[in-house]
């Protein structure tokens, strides 16, 4: 009996190994699938279809977020996906700590169609041990989304501190995530990004910011969790003032010109989303093809016109619709651009410190 059991076990193990191996070979040989971890809206269905027609590669896009991307790839050691789209500030620390991305071979990227200064910045910010790990794709900001019907203050004077103003009690919303801490830090006169390298000082700033946010919590209606929830709230007139992305604000502006994006006095928070290759990507060639495909000026402009975010593609501006162009020139004046706070790389251990403050905020009465 024992022998039989052993035989059965061996057979089972062999079978499972054989199946697993077989699957892998099949995927590598065909290279017909590109599994992508991305953000909602970054891979429009029309472009996925066109890409499949051109190259015969099927794109499977999984919408995600920065934290989820890291956690998912960390859990598998960088396999399971062929291409990821982390924000620029979430690449180096992750490479150093978990090794989940592989360096980019820039000779395979059509760099001529990219904005040279953006590319240079991304290369610089994602450099680890002499190699860079990302190609810039999309950039955007978070600032204030304001309903001018209710918030009468001069938009030029608005700042993140207005999110704590009792006169808007019950009509304010923001996310309970790290950006609010950094943004509020700037509004209270700190320079959070300069403090990144100094944990004790950063902790002091976090404590001060956390205390302020807890004090102002009675003004808050709810912490929004996803972009759609915020849009619904603002559309219904339940939310008057929120911290959010320009993309959502412009969607609402189209429906109701009272609602618009405002860059706060202490500066909008600017981010760049990139392309990065997971360490065990099984379709690197396909990934480069996709990168070069979506960064063509026409394709990039199509994305910007639909979603509202800026793009790293150089000549995309030529293909903007008048509406998109107007949004950019209305909200991103040269002064606003000069005043932006670009997220630098987040060092390890920072999230833990921030996590404790965010938990306190969430639990506070």
């Amino acid at each position: 009996m024992k022998k039989a059991l052993l035989v059965l076990l061996v057979v089972l193990v062999c079978a499972s190994v054989a199946f697993a191996g077989g699957n892998k070979e099949k995927a590598a040989a065909e290279n017909k699938v590109l599994r992508m971890l991305t953000w909602t809206g970054y891979a429009p269905q029309s472009q996925i279809d066109e890409f499949e027609r051109l190259y015969g590669i099927k794109v499977e896009a999984t919408p995600s977020s920065n934290e989820e991307m890291i956690s998912k790839l960390r859990a598998t050691g960088g396999s399971g996906f062929d291409l990821a789209q982390p924000s620029q500030d979430r690449v180096v620390a992750v490479v150093e700590e978990f090794g989940i991305y592989q360096p980019i071979d820039y000779s395979k990227v059509n760099t001529d169609q990219l904005d040279a200064s953006t590319l240079a910045a991304t290369k610089k910010y994602t450099e680890y041990k002499g190699q860079s790990y990302a190609v810039p794709h999309v950039f955007g900001t978070s600032g204030l989304v304001v309903n001018k019907k209710y918030v009468k203050k001069d938009p030029k004077e608005l700042d993140y501190t207005d999110l704590l103003d009792p006169q808007y009690a019950g009509h304010v919303s923001y996310r309970c995530k790290r950006p609010i801490l950094c943004a509020m830090g700037f509004a209270l006169g700190y320079d959070p990004f300069a403090l990144y390298s100094n944990p004790t000082e950063y902790q002091k700033m976090l404590d001060a910011v956390g205390a302020k946010l807890i004090e102002g919590k009675k003004v808050l209606k709810y912490y929004w969790e996803n972009g759609d929830a915020l849009l619904q709230g603002m559309r219904a007139g339940e939310i008057w003032l929120a911290k959010g992305w320009e993309q959502g604000a412009w969607k609402l502006y189209k429906e109701n010109p009272d609602i618009d994006y405002v860059a706060p006095k202490s500066g909008a928070m600017a981010w760049v989303d990139t392309f990065a290759l997971p360490a065990k990507s099984e379709n690197v060639e396909g990934a480069y093809k996709w990168i070069n495909f979506v960064l063509q000026p026409e394709k990039a402009a199509e994305f910007t016109n639909a979603e509202g975010y800026g793009t790293a593609s150089k000549d995309a501006v030529k293909y903007y619709t008048p509406e998109a162009a107007a949004n950019f020139s209305r909200c991103f004046t040269p002064e606003v651009m000069a005043n932006m706070n670009w997220y630098p790389t987040v060092p390890s251990g920072l999230e833990e410190m921030e996590g404790k403050i965010l938990d306190k905020m969430r639990a506070a009465k």
Partner: protein
Amino acid sequence: MMTKSKKLGWGFFIFFIPVFLWLLLLIVLPHIELLRMSFTRAAYLKQPGLTLSNYFEFFKEPIYWNTFLRTAMYSITVTIIVLIIGLPVAFYITKIASLKTRGFLTILILIPFWVSELIRVYGWMIILRESGIINHFMTKFGIWKQPIEMLYNDAAMIMGLVYTSVLFMIVPIIGVMDSLDNSYIEAAYDLGAKKWVIWRHIIIPHCMPGIISGCIIVFMMVLGSYLTPNLMGGKNSLWFTQQIYNQFILYFNWNMGAAFGFLLLLMSSIIIWIALKLSGQNLKEVVK
């Protein structure tokens, strides 16, 4: 050993091995890894070796154990409310309704569970929100001057949790209540017992195994639920599962997340053990 396995035969092993592998590879091994993780520090700190710091952190920081207690208390409250609602419903279905309506009523309870929890919770959100259905009609007919926000507070959250778990109380109770002989109740009536006495001395003692297994299922479901507290709970409510999610996904602190997970496992086991002791039931009886 030899004689035993001979008695069990081939069939036993063919059915046993998949279950065994399933449990070992997908449940036991990952848990051992998590347990190891909960006793080590984050990798970037470069301090190898075992430590209890993750568990100490839980007791040092009041938010963590406050959330822990809050979650436990609310889970118990929800379980009690569900029991209070579930008992009469189960009684009506098994003892009062005619055989025809009985099936119909059971289906009626089951139908909402054909759609996913997410959809059910969103349904409630549409009804309760500030620009939602209730507020719309109340302000339209002038009963309320201003719309009232009914969502995003603890009451809404408890209601959501009760709604999503009530089925799991009713079904096991129906099972045991079915076997209660009606003549016991009739006899008690004949002898002049009041309704309350009948419930206390006849119905509840008879249904105790069903009640306890229903309570365990509901309690575990509520304790481990993530969606409903997250969507309906609002800015002040923090559920312990959210803490675990935050530690794993948002703050990349898997070690602490693992420690929290084991604390939750420990707590739920202790509470269930206490509940079994207090009610004088044993687990064998209840799972039967």
